[in-house]
Amino acid sequence: MAQQVITAGSRRAGRPAEEPLVWLFGFLSVASFLVLLVSVVISGPPVTWIATGIYALCATGLAVTTARRWPFVTFLLPGLSFYLLFVVFPTIEAFRVSLYQWSGIGEPTDFIGLQNFKDVLTSHTFYNAAWHNLVLFAAIFILQNTVGLALAALLHGRPRLHEVYRAAIFLPGIISLVATGLIWQVIFGSNIGLLTPLLQGLHLDFLVRDWLGDDFLTFWLLVLVQFWQWMGLPMIIYLAGLQNVSEELLAAARIDGANEIQVFRHITFPLLAPAFTVMTGLCFIVMFKVFDIPFVMAGNSGSPDGTTDVLSLVIYRDAFGLGTTVQTSLQQGYAVAIGVVMFVAILAATTVQLVFLRRREVDL
């Protein structure tokens, strides 16, 4: 691609007079940010507000003084500040909390080192839930690369009404967790419901099951609903990938005598590699973080009998209790430790995937 990255400041002569100010404000910003972090851990409103105000002043000073020489600092500061304070900092806090036995009230004081991690990695519940995440990922991965890709290929031919189909198929992706949950619970409900009367109406009574109470079936219905919500994304991403494949290349291959299967195998498919990389990464991340659909379809205990349990439900139970009963011994430290294990595992797996898949792209 025609792309030119210019090292900042190389184009015009710097203004040395600004430099000491930049260093001063840079130092002050970092220092006041650290003070702010400490204050939100150990203190309450008036102190934290003052700390926030001081940081805001220092950061503004930094943004103004760097604007000429290093504009990227000015561009990065606002977003990075919010991101560091409201995403990165809580994540680091979570790592810290995972080393404590903590019921969630007050400051954690009972330091137990890696005991929580030892408990996590020896618990059956953890592996059971992780296994379901893995199966869910595998199932959705297969579906998105067959059904999703096929939908994209069909839309790529620009059939009549293709924009309507595209909009409709993506629509479930914007429906809220609450709505999705209520709708599918009612559809699969045993005494009310849509599916049961539908099958009865078609005289297929023998197919009627206890949809949300079946050891085997419930999990696969969950996969179905997850795919219902997910399918628009691979369709759109693959469609974009297909539109990047130049017609000239395909025509050249056909003239050289390649059949349609060979054209797909040797030209279209390799050129879809960037879309494939993105979709594989996103699918992996989303399916391991999945919470909404298992929660609304099967409740927070992964009913029936933990056959629909996933990792984030385990965290939710240990952190907030079962919801129906008041839990006296919540294990926040333990819950957070599961989250940490999840985070590290997803990050590692995604990095490996990306490196591996990106290399495949470069080779082509």
Binding site: V5, I6, T48, F86, V87, Y165, V178, I187, V278
Partner: protein, 291 residues
């Protein structure tokens, strides 16, 4: 258009046969696409029909149109469960969060896509790592953070974390999009005497419009639909999804009323999505594939 050109390039002796199979293929294609579109929207249609039904109608004729259209379901829900106030709360939070998260992400993406500095890759991957963080991992520390900043039960207690939380995907998408913009455009503007911020505002932002629409919609959808975070952080300022969920407590099994609430909560989003769908899809595809 391209298909037609190609058909002319191919040898002609099998053209007739191809025409026949072409009709079969076109029909097949329509059937499959209609099938999947129905799969996607039928649960929604079912919800809309159900929201107009009386309780008896809902149980005895789950599959049909309502026997009598009960508009009063909507009237009742609108008045009973604090829905207008909750909708206003959600709307306020969306309107105050999205412009900030959008512009901050846009600035950051521009810095990462256009400048190479010593830490640029580190910062880029720091943002991307945010995609991987499970919400359940950070929710407890985040609640404590809000509490110590005195932001529980305030709009700010939702807005600030949303701005942070929506950075990763927005930065990923916008950086990907910006990397496709030729660097010469920036050079030309700089030579013409624009400064870095004028380049950004007058050259880059107009080019970014489809990607910005995508990010704005995704953020608005994410915030409008969020349930757990407002449930924990702002119990006294109920957001829309929380209020809709609470309808379960108000009406227990009066599904007509509950679904009326679901429809009210979904309509603004669906309308916005349908109006902006073209830009939304264009931005999503461009940013994600080229990133």
């Amino acid at each position: 258009m391209n298909q037609a050109t190609l058909a002319r390039v191919r040898p002609d002796n099998r053209a007739a046969q191809r025409n026949g199979s072409r009709v079969v293929f076109v029909t097949f294609r329509q059937v499959v696409l209609i099938g999947f579109s129905l799969f996607a929207i039928l649960p929604g249609i079912f919800t809309i029909f159900s929201s107009f039904k009386s309780l008896f109608d809902f149980y005895s004729n789950p599959l049909t149109l309502p026997q009598v259209w009960h508009w009063d379901n909507y009237v009742a829900v609108w008045h009973d469960a604090g829905i207008p106030q909750a909708a206003l709360n959600s709307f306020t939070v969306v309107v105050l969060s999205v412009p900030f998260s959008l512009s901050f992400a846009c600035f950051a993406a521009y810095a990462l896509a256009r400048y190479s500095f010593r830490w640029s890759n580190v910062v880029y991957y720091l943002f991307l790592a945010g995609l991987v963080i499970p919400a359940q991992l950070t929710i407890l520390p985040l609640v404590l953070l809000d509490k110590n900043l005195g932001l529980i039960n305030t709009y700010a207690g939702l807005i600030f974390p949303y701005i942070g939380a929506h950075m990763p995907f927005a930065v990923f998408l916008l950086t990907g999009f910006l990397r496709t913009v030729p660097g010469e455009l920036r050079d030309a503007a700089l030579i013409d005497g624009a400064n870095e911020f004028q380049v950004f505002y007058y050259v880059m932002v107009p080019l970014l419009r489809p990607a910005l629409a995508t990010v704005a919609i995704l953020n608005a959808v994410g915030i409008w639909n969020d349930f757990f975070f407002p449930l924990v952080v702002s119990p006294k300022i109920p957001m829309l999804q929380v209020s809709v969920y609470n309808l379960l407590g108000v009406y227990s099994t009066e599904w007509g009323h509950i679904f009326a609430g679901v429809v009210i909560a979904a309509v603004p989003l669906v309308v916005a999505y349908l109006l902006l769908t073209k830009q939304f899809i264009a931005g999503l595809s461009a940013g994600a594939v080229k990133g």
